[in-house]
Symmetry: C2
Subunit: 260 residues, 2 copies
DNA sequence: CGGCTTGTTCCGTTATATGGAACTTAATTT
DNA sequence: AAATTAAGTTCCATATAACGGAACAAGCCG
């Protein structure tokens, strides 16, 4: 979603660009494909790729196409386990899950996307792992909208004015005005909804989480299939979701020293 | 487990060293701590860290300690979803899970470690996500030993001679001879066991997976708590595990072109 | 307050990444 | 099969970006 198309800051940035290119593509990429995506001369790109492969960040398939390397998995595993915010939030996610019996998500805002940091599943969900680390557009997800609502006006405006809306379902918000309206509402009630705006048949209720000075902004949500849980039922969980969000903020601000 | 202690190849390698240092530490690291782990002059390290932060690979906590960044999660999420081997193996993991009702693991060998690529849980396991991408020593895990057994003799010898054995449980193999013995057995039977060698109370049965020319080497396993599933029961699953491994190999070799 | 640790910035030097071009290998066409 | 084109890899002079010493700023502790 968040195309990191060519902001090459230093050698590292360029290496990352290559990784992002591979990551963003639905199809497997071969050398020449990459060459078009990354504006680099052949020799240069070739060396960069070699380096990435040597570090295990990239690997080659038999057909000479590239895929992301295992080193990323290992690092991410540690990143996940060591993440302070996630660690602090975890017990609250668990509790909210106990209370509602439905899937609970934790996500942080990064640009226009929400990155899912953790999730507690209702049952064995099929392809669940992939969810964590996943980036989804903020404007059509519960945690995303909640997080947006937690931003100070100035940042919010600057940010959402750059959104290019894409209709994911028939309920997706597709205008800036609609989004602004929702955000105003979320700020009043402290609750955000995703009314099947991202995936048809799936809705959720979310609440914003943010540090005192908004240096991070996140959200927590409870998600359920619409056929099983009505929107009214969802709404009744509002106090629980708000409470969980509040508790996480509490824990977080006490864990962090007051200010820098 | 696999300490990447200072093999700085190029700029990228050094950056990775810093990440690995942060990843490897159980405690949060502050600037000076890192300075001791990474043999770099202050100015240099500082800039490297700045770059890493700018790319989202690292982030700072309020107390000036560092943690791995969200970018890693996002990349890893794609790495996981796009991984060819994993994709091919997935349905077979699923099937094995259906057949046994227990947790199924897929792992690949990387040096002396096994990296877990996928897993199908028996129930809602508590801290499951962390497992994927996790690196565990090969010599004391089912998939690890299976994978080792799939290596050609020469590579195997070179590799295992460098193992430093650590006793994880009372059943952990702690000598090269013992490991060699097991590997010989695994090669005969096509089946590896982990008899509570990694975690007490947990045992598993595994089978090796490898490409024709051994350019990758992996394993699949079914894991269960000893109190619920006897070692005899586990052993009865041998044909299923072997079959799954075989099927994965089959699918993989047909998916890949014959040779380079 | 003064000394000491920790973190950050600057800038001349050096090492490293760059990228054009030449070269090799594989695929495609005639 | 030979010829043609495309894809992938290696080389090397050059420019750029990383280096690292040292000076500077900010906390912390006695």
């Amino acid at each position: 979603m968040n195309d990191n198309g060519g902001n090459a800051t230093g050698t590292l940035g360029k290496a990352l660009d290559v990784l992002q290119a591979v990551a963003s593509s639905p199809h497997p990429l071969r050398f020449t494909d990459l060459l078009q995506l990354v504006p680099q001369p052949r020799g240069t790109l070739h060396r960069q790729i070699s380096n990435l492969i040597q570090e295990g960040l990239l690997s080659v398939r038999r057909d000479h196409s590239y895929e992301l390397g295992l080193t990323l998995l290992t690092l991410a595993s540690r990143a996940w386990a060591g993440n302070q915010f996630r660690t602090v939030a975890e017990p609250h996610l668990r509790q909210l899950h106990e209370q509602t019996g439905e899937t609970v998500h934790l996500g942080v805002l990064k640009g226009l996307d929400v990155i899912y940091l953790d999730k507690v599943e209702s049952r064995q969900a099929v392809r669940m792992h992939s969810q964590i680390g996943n980036a989804s557009p903020a404007y059509c997800t519960g945690v995303g909208k909640a997080a947006l609502a937690a931003l100070p006006d100035m940042e919010l405006d600057k940010l959402i004015s750059t959104i290019s809306f894409r209709r994911h379902t028939e309920h997706t918000l597709t205008s800036l005005e609609a989004l602004r309206g929702e955000i105003a509402e979320i700020r009043q009630t402290g609750i955000a909804f995703d009314r099947q705006e991202h995936e048809p048949g799936i809705h959720c209720i979310a609440a914003p989480i943010h540090s005192r000075d908004r240096d991070f902004v996140a959200g927590i949500s409870t998600t359920a299939p619409a056929y099983r849980i009505s929107i009214e039922q969802l709404t009744e969980w509002a106090p629980l979701v708000r409470a969980a969000a509040g508790a996480i903020m509490e824990d977080m601000t006490s864990r962090l020293g007051p200010k820098s």
